[in-house]
Symmetry: C2
Subunit: 235 residues, 2 copies
Amino acid sequence: MNTTFQHIGIIHSCFTEKFGIPRQSGLVSEAPAEVEIFPPYNREEAFRKLETFSHIWILFVFHAIKIKDWKPCVRPPRLGGNQKVGVFATRSGFRPNRIGMSSVRLMNIRQEGSCIILSVKGGDFLNQTPVLDIKPYLPYADMIPSAAGGFAAAAPESELAVEFSPQALETCTEIEKQSCPGLSKLIVQTLSIDPRPAYHSHRPVPKVFGVKLYNFNIKWEISDDGILVTSIENC
Amino acid sequence: MNTTFQHIGIIHSCFTEKFGIPRQSGLVSEAPAEVEIFPPYNREEAFRKLETFSHIWILFVFHAIKIKDWKPCVRPPRLGGNQKVGVFATRSGFRPNRIGMSSVRLMNIRQEGSCIILSVKGGDFLNQTPVLDIKPYLPYADMIPSAAGGFAAAAPESELAVEFSPQALETCTEIEKQSCPGLSKLIVQTLSIDPRPAYHSHRPVPKVFGVKLYNFNIKWEISDDGILVTSIENC
């Protein structure tokens, strides 16, 4: 038995490649995204009163996973990438039905021509993610203060210091003025939670990485002092 | 564009008809349900470490809605059934993609022959609900203490007193001994939150209602003093 669901919209996200996407919603609180609702779901009245909620759930498709088969176990980055747990004990996208769910802050809802666009912050979406549903976050039902979070009880601990080289800072300031306010804050939040795969975490040698945000390639190095953003280039 | 998802399991729930189902998960904390996982998803290792979480999300299909079309607005019971709001501002099943999500307490996971069965409490599922996904409830990501719940900010207020007639109490005690421990508590919780449709709420005349739990028809009357369970019959 199966059920087919329509894509009701698409997410335009600052995360334009998988590397760098926070591993849960809320971890990069300033990460902006826009949810564009497709016809025939783009009706103002279908979202009436949604603006009274501060947060919403977005149900989406993990669309960029190319492997067709699912495996019963995954190695969550959370456990250092070495330990296998059941896929249903994780929020990994490598699951039988590739439905993701993330709670985000609802900033505003606007109409642009025939489009309905929801502006949100704090998401963990890859750009172009297909949307299945929008639901209000109901504190009285969705907040469970007594819940115990198993092997993922608390947010990941790493909070690295992030600095910019003088040249990277200059480029960033220029880009912020021209087209992309908040870019430096987004870079800091994204890198401070250490986007490197788990198996790199204890490599002592500084190494150069690149992470894509919007259409910028952010290059950075890691050392014992933290992260240094060395350049920001169009890509 | 659309995506097809397999049903990975089915829910065996105490709620065998729509009337009486709590309007969110957690409202009837003792409501039991069992999630039977279908092959090929019924592999013990696919659920490994899930037992370390106290609560899980169940994504499911609202399967009993027969109307094919969706409407942009619904009248939530929450607002007395008279006010229309956008369907995306509610958790109603009458939505374009009929995916529901509920958080429940995970009581245990057991293997019975080739079956994997998750035993849960606090659900709001109709019996025979198809399951799309099981995910752990992650307190650090899913608890949003700052969230504002719009027009559904707090749990519904009504808490009616529930009494049993001597005959109903006797029948209930007998059923509890024989086959169904906890039935009286389940009846009290289910009725105390007033399962009547919103448009009945201010009718002063006592009226007889019936609600089905498992294969029992629970008859009850309402008056200014609260609810009186008058009989419990097999159906």
